[in-house]
């Protein structure tokens, strides 16, 4: 095992200590594993709480701040957080206008957030939930658990976060989050497996010269293994997989996302190919974001997320945001 860690057991706590030391704008409860806006609860604002397994940084803790999340609850690496975390976070961010849970669609996340919602409601917090399920790789009818939540989480958190910052009520913030999710689809590719602290080695074997198409963000292998493809071929495949499901009729928001170990140099080259394919298919790109945002530890690879954009979503996208992972306008 070669990782920049102390011992596997303290990886998440160590990272939270680091966030606490690095970001004075955040309150980090290392013990209870909650990352909060320093100014939470923000008066008269709907609270946004997300969370999930660690290993996807900057998601979610790096998206806490004005214009995005009020709190994030990191679980162990690739393991959903426990209900107490989200229940406590909800209580900490609730200004009386209710709290939205943004939940990626994985059995563990769904179950734990459901239990948290019950606990929070017992404490008198009004909770709404939105499930993010954007990954077209698992859209077939046999996949009874539904699609996975991946890159669209960033869009949901940013756009719902902007709506909440504007003072929208819970139903409206929830409706926006739901609309963003329904307007978004993703497809991911891995050139290598991530190394988890628990396993101490790559989570799957990928022979030289092969790649995995349709991967998720938890080190699980993809749907299909193929011989190595060029950046352009991968862009064709991924964008077409997304478009087939999304069928946008106007401009899109595009997230060209690195899975962790793919250099930015390569990711920008891939972004060029994604733009090429979208241009060929007649899909205008209203805004694009390129970088490592929804990652899978040190997995090599990338994903493409597209979201059908309209005036309102673009306005919310352009609204100021101030988090460790995403920042503009302030």
């Amino acid at each position: 095992m070669k990782m920049l860690i102390n011992v596997p057991e303290t990886v998440v706590a160590d990272a939270l200590r680091g966030m606490a030391a690095t970001h004075p704008d955040l309150t980090v409860d290392v013990e209870r594993r909650i990352v909060l806006r320093r100014d939470a609860p923000v008066a008269d604002k709907v609270g946004l709480v997300s969370g999930g397994g660690s290993g996807h940084e900057p998601l979610h803790g790096g998206f806490v701040g004005p214009g995005m999340l009020d709190a994030a609850c990191p679980g162990e690496v690739f393991t959903s957080p426990v209900p107490d975390q989200m229940a406590r976070a909800a209580a900490a961010v609730d200004s009386g206008r209710g709290v939205l849970f943004i939940v990626k669609n994985y059995t563990g996340d769904v179950l734990n957030f459901d239990m948290a919602a019950e606990l929070a409601e017992d404490e008198g917090v009004q909770v709404a939930k939105v499930l993010v399920d954007d990954d077209v790789a698992v859209s077939g009818s046999t996949y009874t658990t539904g699609r996975r939540g991946t890159g669209a989480t960033l869009f949901v958190e940013k756009l719902a976060g902007a709506a909440a910052e504007e003072g929208a009520p819970l139903e409206r913030v929830e409706a926006i989050a739901r609309r963003v999710n329904e307007s978004s689809r993703s497809f991911g590719v891995a050139l290598g497996a991530p190394t988890t602290p628990a396993k101490g080695g790559p989570t799957f074997d990928l022979p030289a010269g092969e790649l995995e198409l349709g991967i998720g963000i938890h080190g699980e292998p993809g749907r299909e293994r193929r011989g190595m493809m060029t950046s352009g071929e991968i862009a064709d495949f991924a964008v077409d997989a997304v478009l087939e499901d999304l069928r946008p009729e106007g401009p899109v928001l595009a997230l060209i996302n690195g899975m962790g170990a793919t250099p930015l140099l390569e990711l920008y080259g891939f972004a060029a190919e994604v733009h090429r394919v979208l241009a060929e298919r007649g899909v205008p790109v209203a805004r694009a974001l390129v970088g490592n945002y929804v990652t899978s530890l040190d997995m090599a690879g990338c994903s493409v997320t597209l979201c059908r954009a309209d005036e309102e979503l673009l306005r919310l996208w352009d609204a100021p945001v101030r988090t460790p992972g995403l920042r503009w306008g302030m």
Partner: protein
């Protein structure tokens, strides 16, 4: 086999045995989870059962129902993932079903476990054949028999149930994302469920042979 009254201490020792087994087998569970999941099942359960046993050791609840309920709550509050709420619910519901009796017989335990397993199925919207822990849990509860005392049969049935998941196509949990590629791998949750019933049989066997584990 002697019909025995199972007390809080029996359940406490069962949970300790599960914790020890999960500790021992953590690497293997994680390996199985790495093939068709996200490589954390071993460390998840190890963390959870260690916390559960620590709480039991500290609080020493004095009824079987309270032991299982406390263990279940601790799993829920320390594991996370899919298996935390599922195993947590299994034990919590089983504990609740046992009520506050100071001792229970094996038949009552079997009924309580059936209630717990049904709750798992409901919570996870899963059924036998979906390649989950249920494929070990249901056959094991069934094999406990009328008396609830066929612990060794339950051990065997859970193991067979776990093995039987190998050719299955996963329909629930992370493994389902692999589609056809989930076939050919044993489900990690079914494997840990077999450990649960092996620990039960070991604990019961120790009682039957007069070795209550205190001397160990």
């Amino acid at each position: 086999m002697v019909t025995v009254a199972l007390d809080a201490d029996f359940f406490h020792r069962w949970m300790s045995a599960v914790s020890a087994a999960v500790d021992r087998e953590a690497q293997r569970l994680t390996e199985l989870d790495s093939a068709i999941g996200d490589a954390d099942h071993g460390s998840n359960l190890r963390r959870g059962f260690a916390a559960a046993v620590a709480s039991l050791d500290e609080e020493r609840p004095d009824t079987p129902g309270a032991v299982l309920a406390l263990a279940g709550r601790r799993l829920i509050s320390t594991v996370g993932g899919a298996s935390g709420p599922l195993y947590g619910t299994l034990l919590r519901r089983a504990g609740k079903a046992l009520g506050d009796a100071g001792t229970v017989d094996a038949a009552r335990l079997r009924e309580a476990l059936r209630t717990g397993v049904d709750a798992v199925a409901q919570l996870g919207s899963a059924a036998p054949g979906d390649k989950t822990m249920l494929d070990a849990l249901y056959p094991a509860v069934e094999a406990l028999g009328e008396s609830g005392e066929d612990f060794e049969a339950a051990r065997g049935a859970a193991e067979e149930g776990a093995s039987a998941t190998v050719p299955m196509l996963a329909r629930r949990g992370r493994a389902s994302y692999l589609g056809e590629r989930s076939i050919g791998h044993q489900d990690p949750g079914a494997t840990s469920s077999a450990l649960l019933f092996a620990a039960l049989a070991d604990t019961a066997g120790a009682v039957a042979s007069g070795d209550d584990g205190e001397a160990a």
